[in-house]
Symmetry: C2
Subunit: 355 residues, 2 copies
């Protein structure tokens, strides 16, 4: 049965998979809701946005995404409060960023009304998949891929924009141990590190697998030239707490402009915590660890929210970070979750209710 909203055509799923999902035992990104949003770009414009049952789709083997990596994505979450109200968190940031990512990869911008109406239509249809309770969320994955069936190495003329939704618990549950990059790099000056480009992620898998073999879950990337400056962790931005001061790297064309990152910078200001946004060297953090002034390191990202980091290694030297009483990581995480779940005042207007 196909019904039509103003712009988005809707075909409802005849059955729901929700009964098969164990919400208390979710693996990130493996279960998807009953519906998805699809909009194709052809003849110079985005055509017929639609919400249809979640399903596999057919692609030519020459579809350009398979060959030249024209693919960008976003990560966002929907939250439900105890009254059943559904909220997004700063979704305009994600909308702006996916178009920024697309522009860097020579892909067309997506219209704002389609983006939000697509999200809202999906969230209404799959409302039951959003579970209340802090820590529960529905992870939303907008993405764009080049579908044109031709393997010339140039921007495609056909794209597909999709949103799929996956019920989630917080991504990393326990503190992570990280390796500081000394040889491999995530991105170049003048490259695509600031874009949520698909290829940026595959590029990290091999170095990360080497780190994992050494007992570390993640890598903190450094600048490719000198490996002197601490940048980001690939799926998270990174904050360092030295005594009572926070430090985080400035965004650049190498570093993703994270929504959680910028929210923490604002929350720090609200809480009267100094947050320096500046280049931070590996040496500085090692020295701070040695003299006892390094109190915390934590990652910040939509999937992980806030991930405390309990140890880092550099030049075969391991630095452990003891838990602190008044953890900033915990404070920021709780503050963010309370805002996201409509449990506290939203003085910056970050929540957007889905009605």
């Amino acid at each position: 049965m196909a019904i039509h909203t103003d712009k988005i055509s809707v075909e409802k799923s005849k059955t729901s998979k929700i009964g098969n999902v164990d919400f208390s035992n979710l693996t990130f990104g493996r279960e998807f809701t009953d519906h998805m949003f699809v909009c194709d770009y052809e003849d110079g414009k985005w055509q017929n946005p639609k919400v249809i049952p979640y399903q596999a789709m057919s692609y030519e083997p020459s579809a350009r995404v398979f060959h030249y990596g024209q693919a960008v994505f976003e990560g966002m979450k929907a939250y439900k409060d105890d009254d059943g109200k559904v909220f997004l968190f700063r979704p305009k940031q994600n909308f702006d960023r996916i178009n920024k990512s697309s522009a860097r990869l020579a892909m067309p911008a997506f219209p704002e009304n389609y983006f939000f109406e697509g999200l809202e239509t999906l969230l209404k249809l799959d409302n039951e998949w959003i579970k209340p309770g802090v820590g529960n969320s529905l992870y939303l994955r907008p993405f764009v891929i080049a579908t044109e069936p031709a393997i010339s190495a140039s921007p495609a003329n056909m794209y597909r924009f999709m949103i799929i939704c996956s019920p989630a618990k917080s991504y990393y549950n326990s503190a992570v141990r990280v390796l500081i990059a000394e040889h491999f790099s995530r991105s170049a000056n003048g490259g695509v590190g600031a874009a949520k480009a698909a290829g940026n992620y595959a590029a990290q898998f091999y170095p990360t697998s080497l780190a994992q073999q050494k007992g570390f879950q993640q890598i903190i990337w450094t600048d490719a030239d000198t490996h002197t400056f601490l940048e980001e962790a690939g799926t998270m931005n990174v904050f360092f707490r030295v005594n009572d001061k926070l430090i985080t790297a400035p965004t650049s064309d190498r570093i993703l402009d994270g929504v959680t990152r910028k929210s923490i910078i604002q929350l720090a200001e609200d809480l009267g915590i100094t947050c320096e946004v500046r280049q931070v060297t590996v040496e500085e953090i090692k020295n701070a660890s040695k003299d006892g002034s390094l109190k915390e390191i934590f990652g910040a990202g939509t999937a992980a929210v806030i991930s405390p980091i309990s140890a880092f290694e550099h030049h075969e030297e391991l630095f452990e970070i003891a838990e602190v009483e008044d953890s900033y990581a915990k404070k920021f995480k709780q503050t963010l979750l309370n805002i996201q779940h409509n449990l506290s005042e939203d003085k910056h207007g970050w929540r957007r209710e889905v009605k």
Copy 2:
């Protein structure tokens, strides 16, 4: 009708599209032959290689290639001589390189026998698509994509290896004008520039589109740190001829180890032409242009074979390169094409006949 070779199952196409193709007027990478090779990786191994009719296939929206860019490819060509014999050119180089690319992206190696039996089975079935005559070829595109339907940011457990084939003329027919990169970059030290990773290509499209708006077809990339050293052109390695000497950048983790590149280095040695493999600066080439010692610049790659470069721009200064009588570019192109098309001796054993 499915017949079986030793290892590869074959399902022949019932009809051929070949009658619809205008072989005198081909656009690169837009027409594909009647068959394709497919082999899926699951449960820790490559399963059931098969040749089937060229067709679209179904992918989950969560297939990891769409999100994290785990995708690598190769470019190779098959040639036919006037006796109808079919040849590949140094195909072991491509086989080795696709596995090297895969390793860098944490993807599994593909078995050598499947690779070559797949190619040979395809080339026999689609033999009519390989046209004799210098300049004609069948472009072969092996590629591997991550198909696992789960969006966790980690290496996939399921992949698809495919080979598709597209009839081709030489890629760039006339001399190209290039811009020297001053702001944007192709790859980082410690990055994936040496891999034929899908994401490397999308990353170049936007800067290249800016270059095209200025009247240049391609960019010669420079090192991301200082933009001082000339590296490669994204789809081609680059050679500079200063007086009678050739210079080309050494391969590195930023520069692709091109098969045409290494063949030219060998041919130069055969012809008694000095070829220096060393870092080459923008300044050096600008100075050589100014003092008249810069005789040629040309790109070298499988798709383009050899592309003479007729002008380059750097810091808004345009340098034109006049055509020379005894063009190395022409000489290398002819020598390569003669070897590839079985028109001359093959002293290095580069041809591999497909029987």
